[in-house]
């Protein structure tokens, strides 16, 4: 009975926190623009501001997916099939970009291709390739996390047996008849998620491209004039059209992902890693450049935070100084200090954690509890918890902004934790995704035995469930904190009407200061370095508790 109460509360709380703001936003936009989905879609190409955006979004997402697989698969193969010294460290380094805030990655890549790096940005044909490579950098972890467990744990006897068969004599034959069918669901799952993340990418598109927009960035750019009656009506149609396309594509991708995940589970680990792996010296030719690739944008960010440009009539020179850091942390009447942003970010992350973790956990438990008796309801709830994935962070930000204007703007604008609403919307689905498999893997026999011994429910929870779920809970805690700290799209929309800046928003604001200010880039990189440091700390901590053979995103 108690549990039913918790479940109901979780579903109601989730609906209020997550679904209602989105509903209010869509309701408002429809009221202004009218209900005509065909017009919404047509408005995208009918307006100069959004012309070609759909094609560009698909093109960059598809190319990003292809390039991510092309770079990621050889690395996953090397990590999965061979023995490496410091294997955990190498794997952590290569998978760390996925948790790095995208705005930090954007700053890193800008410096890598800028005048103090490779100096190729001056050629406007290079930025598109940079965007694709940046997406590949960001999503590399997905390929490794999805494919490496299959590769590292496949029983070697299978391959030996294949060699004896006519279809497995050649490498191509073994690939076609053994590896391809085994890897296909994992590769497809990685491709699917890479596509989703590239499709909704915002910070990288905003900073790396030159004027080109994705559906996500166009919504962000025009979001400030959304929902105003008799004003810029076309913009409401554009946002609705963009949301509709995004929602459809992302829901389809998530369904596909869900199906692929199911297929993958049947093909996962079949032998211990130790029995499979051999030494491969030639593999360093892939692994070493991969490690450099993973680290270079982050090193560039830290390095650029100390490099100060001096321009005068005699030309431009550079010096090594800490003044970029001082500029960022000093603050001013017109710009918050990095300390303020840091405390805001940490505060929001902690509150987000306090709400998203129990909420996500309760939702995951609810899905698990009802999926045997009412599988359709469980499936519905499962999809409902994934809505924020499909809505994208900018749309969530717009939802929160329009929602709070409609409900009580005076209250929300003077209420410091307001941005937490957006963070909870974004992180709760991730908690559900992390906790659900963990809860599924719990053997109910322990709990039943304890129950037979007369141990009360809370002690069973403390003595059995909590220790068994410890790893997954900690991973959920750390990822919630990391995602909240690095969240940019929704915060960018929500906090621009307030002075509660967060670290990612501050990086964007600093970098937006006109470049005749010497500290524009170094100060943005200094704050990026702080965010990068915190994220690295959290990631290193998470790696200690990650279930060994989960093979998922996290």
């Amino acid at each position: 009975m108690k549990f039913r109460l918790i479940s109901s509360c979780a579903v109601i709380a989730y609906t209020l926190l997550v679904v209602v703001p989105l509903w209010l936003a869509i309701d408002r936009l429809i009221w202004v623009a009218g209900f005509n989905p065909l017009d919404w879609i047509n408005s995208l190409d009918g307006n100069y501001i959004s012309q070609g955006v759909v094609a560009f979004t698909f093109l960059q997402a598809l190319l990003s997916t292809v390039v991510t697989l092309a770079i990621g698969l050889p690395i996953a193969w090397q990590l999965g099939r061979y023995k490496w010294p410091l294997h955990s460290l190498i794997k952590a380094t290569l998978t760390m970009p996925f948790v790095m805030p995208s705005i930090v990655a954007a700053m890193g890549f800008l410096h890598l291709i800028g005048p103090s790096g490779l100096n190729i940005r001056i050629d406007d044909t290079t930025w598109f390739a940079t965007l694709i490579i940046a997406h590949a950098w960001f999503n590399l972890a997905l390929v490794i996390r999805f494919c490496e467990p299959v590769l590292s744990t496949l029983d070697p006897k299978l391959e030996e047996q294949m060699r004896l068969l006519p279809a497995g004599h050649s490498k191509i034959g073994r690939f076609r008849n053994l590896w391809a069918p085994l890897l296909a669901p994992s590769v497809a799952a990685a491709a699917c998620m890479t596509f989703v993340f590239s499709f909704t990418s915002f910070a990288l598109v905003r900073w790396i491209t030159l004027g080109d927009n994705t559906l996500e960035s166009v919504m962000a750019n025009i979001g400030s004039s959304a929902g105003i009656p008799n004003y810029m009506l076309a913009r409401n149609e554009i946002i609705l059209g963009a949301s509709l396309i995004q929602f459809t594509i992302l829901i389809a991708s998530l369904w596909l992902m869900s199906w692929l995940q199911h297929r993958r589970q049947n093909l996962l680990p079949q032998a211990s890693e130790i029995t499979v792996k051999r030494v491969n010296h030639r593999g360093w030719m892939i692994v070493f450049p991969a490690v450099i690739f993973a680290l270079s944008p982050l090193i560039a960010v830290f390095w650029a935070s100390f490099r100060i440009r001096h321009t005068d009539s005699s030309g431009t020179s550079y010096s090594w100084e800490t003044s970029g850091w001082e500029f960022a942390f000093a603050g001013s009447g017109s710009m918050s200090s990095a300390w303020d942003a840091l405390w805001n970010s940490l505060g929001y992350a902690m509150i987000t954690l306090c709400i998203a973790l129990p909420l996500g956990w309760a939702l995951a438990q609810t899905i698990l509890d009802i999926e045997k008796e009412r599988p359709k309801t469980a499936r519905f709830l499962d999809v409902l918890t994934m809505i924020p994935f499909a809505a994208s962070s900018v749309m969530i930000g717009l939802g929160v902004m329009l929602g709070m204007i409609r409900v009580n703007a005076e209250f929300f604008y003077s209420f410091w934790p307001t941005p937490v609403i957006a963070h909870v919307m974004i992180t709760t689905p991730f908690v559900v995704r992390i906790m659900l498999p963990a809860l599924r893997s719990l053997n109910p026999i322990y709990d039943e035995c304890a129950q037979t011994l007369g141990i009360p429910a809370w002690r069973r929870f403390m003595l059995i469930r909590l220790p068994l779920l410890r790893g997954s809970i900690l991973v959920a805690v750390i990822f919630t904190l990391a995602m909240s700290l690095g969240e940019f799209g929704a915060s960018w929309v929500v906090t621009r009407n307030s002075d509660w800046t967060t670290l990612p928003v501050m990086i964007d604001s600093l970098r937006s200061i006109p470049y005749n200010n010497t500290y524009t880039a170094p100060a943005a990189c200094a704050v990026s370095s702080v965010l990068m440091g915190i994220t690295l700390l959290l990631f290193t901590w998470a790696e200690k508790f990650r279930p060994a053979r989960d093979g998922g995103m996290f």
Binding site: S8, W31, L210, I228, F380, R406, R496
Partner: protein
């Protein structure tokens, strides 16, 4: 069962989305200051964008003089400021808007988001009062928007100095001009407004201003979201070339006619950027400070008074890179600031009322011209 019921309710609610909630909320009532419930709470919330003049020293001095506590809400651009005002109409979120220019002002007035301020202003130049002389807004800075070009490239040999706007549609200028979008940038909007006047008064009666924009679109004009991107990222004649985000593929850009003066002043009387003074192809832009409906009117008025004082407003050229709006003020002569800042002989002549009446339509026409190219 409970969960299932909730799901059904959610689906039904979503399926019947027709804007009924919003329709009920938005009643658009206008209330005068005397009847509005506002209190002087000792705080002043300023909504603005990157107006450089609002620096720490200036804000702290205001706080010291008046005792008001200032909070700055910085948005992306002038367009975002007007969006914010319309979005939060009657919600008492902010007290004063700074940075709305004469292409947006009438829209704000027509939508009743501003209040008459109480500041007593006596020393404003006639030029600054040309676009608007009413009680809803005080002009605090001004300048002319026009094309700038890089004289090291546009030297008459490699590139011909344009003699009229149609010259910019020639092949040599293909992909070499950066213009901030009229839809998202106030300089872009101002320049588009100028083109409506330019082509109304040119000798050619067969083409419209939209034809020129279509031709520019076909000639690969670079349209950027904001001024910064056009000037810093794309323009080869400005300070952008020394910065990290620089691409440098445009030899002409829409900026201010005094931008070369700012360049010279910042770099020891040296610049390669020159403003292009074509009749009616420049626009006199005035930026305003205005009290917001429902805000702290006393605090807003005090700030307007302070902003328009000779001590503060005379610093506009050096703090805000714009002309002062007070009588008898000009740009400083130091390091070629004044020398390289050209005042157009014949800027476009479009009244604020005409702008407000036509802007939505112009933007729609501009959009069609660019999309159809």
């Amino acid at each position: 069962m409970k969960i299932y019921s909730l799901g059904v309710v959610f689906i039904l609610a979503t399926m019947t989305l027709t804007g009924c909630v919003s329709q009920k909320i938005d009643d658009g009532v206008i209330i005068a200051p005397s009847k509005y419930e506002w209190v002087d709470d000792g705080e002043l919330v300023i909504v603005t964008y990157d107006v450089y003049g609002l620096n720490d020293a200036m804000l702290e001095e205001f706080e010291r003089q008046t005792g008001y506590e200032v909070t700055l809400l910085k948005l992306d651009d002038a367009g975002s400021v007007i969006d914010h005002l319309l979005q939060h109409k009657g919600l008492q979120v902010a007290d004063i808007a700074i940075g709305i220019d004469n292409t947006y002002l009438q829209t704000a007035i027509d939508n009743n988001v501003l209040w008459e301020h109480n500041a007593v202003l006596t020393n404003i130049s006639d030029l600054a009062l040309l676009p608007y002389e009413g009680p809803y807004a005080a002009p605090f800075d001004q300048g002319y928007i026009c094309l700038n070009y890089d004289s090291s490239v546009v030297d008459g040999e490699n590139f011909t100095v344009p003699q009229n706007l149609w010259d910019l549609t020639n092949d040599e200028w293909s992909g070499k001009i950066a213009i901030p979008s009229p839809e998202t940038s106030s300089p872009g909007r101002a320049f588009m407004t100028a083109t409506t006047d330019y082509f109304t008064h040119d000798d050619d009666n067969e083409t419209e201003w939209t034809d020129w924009w279509t031709a520019m679109s076909r000639n690969e004009v670079i349209i950027t979201t904001g001024w910064s991107e056009a000037y810093e990222t794309h323009y080869t004649g400005g300070y952008g070339e020394w910065t990290d985000g620089y691409v440098g593929n445009a030899h002409a850009v829409v900026s201010y006619c005094h931008s070369p003066g700012v360049e010279a002043w910042s770099a020891g009387n040296w610049t390669k950027s020159v403003s292009l003074d074509l009749p009616r192809a420049s626009f006199h832009q005035v930026e305003y400070a205005a009290a917001i409906e429902g805000g702290n009117l006393d605090a807003a008025s005090a700030f307007i008074q302070y902003l328009m004082s000779p001590e503060v407003n005379s610093k506009m050229p050096t703090e805000n890179y714009m002309y002062s709006t007070l009588k008898g003020m000009d740009l400083p002569e130091d390091d070629g600031y004044r020398f390289h800042s050209r005042i157009p002989d014949q800027p476009a002549n479009v009244s604020a009322t005409k702008i407000a009446e036509n802007m939505e339509n112009w933007l729609a026409q501009w959009n069609t011209a660019m999309v159809d190219a």
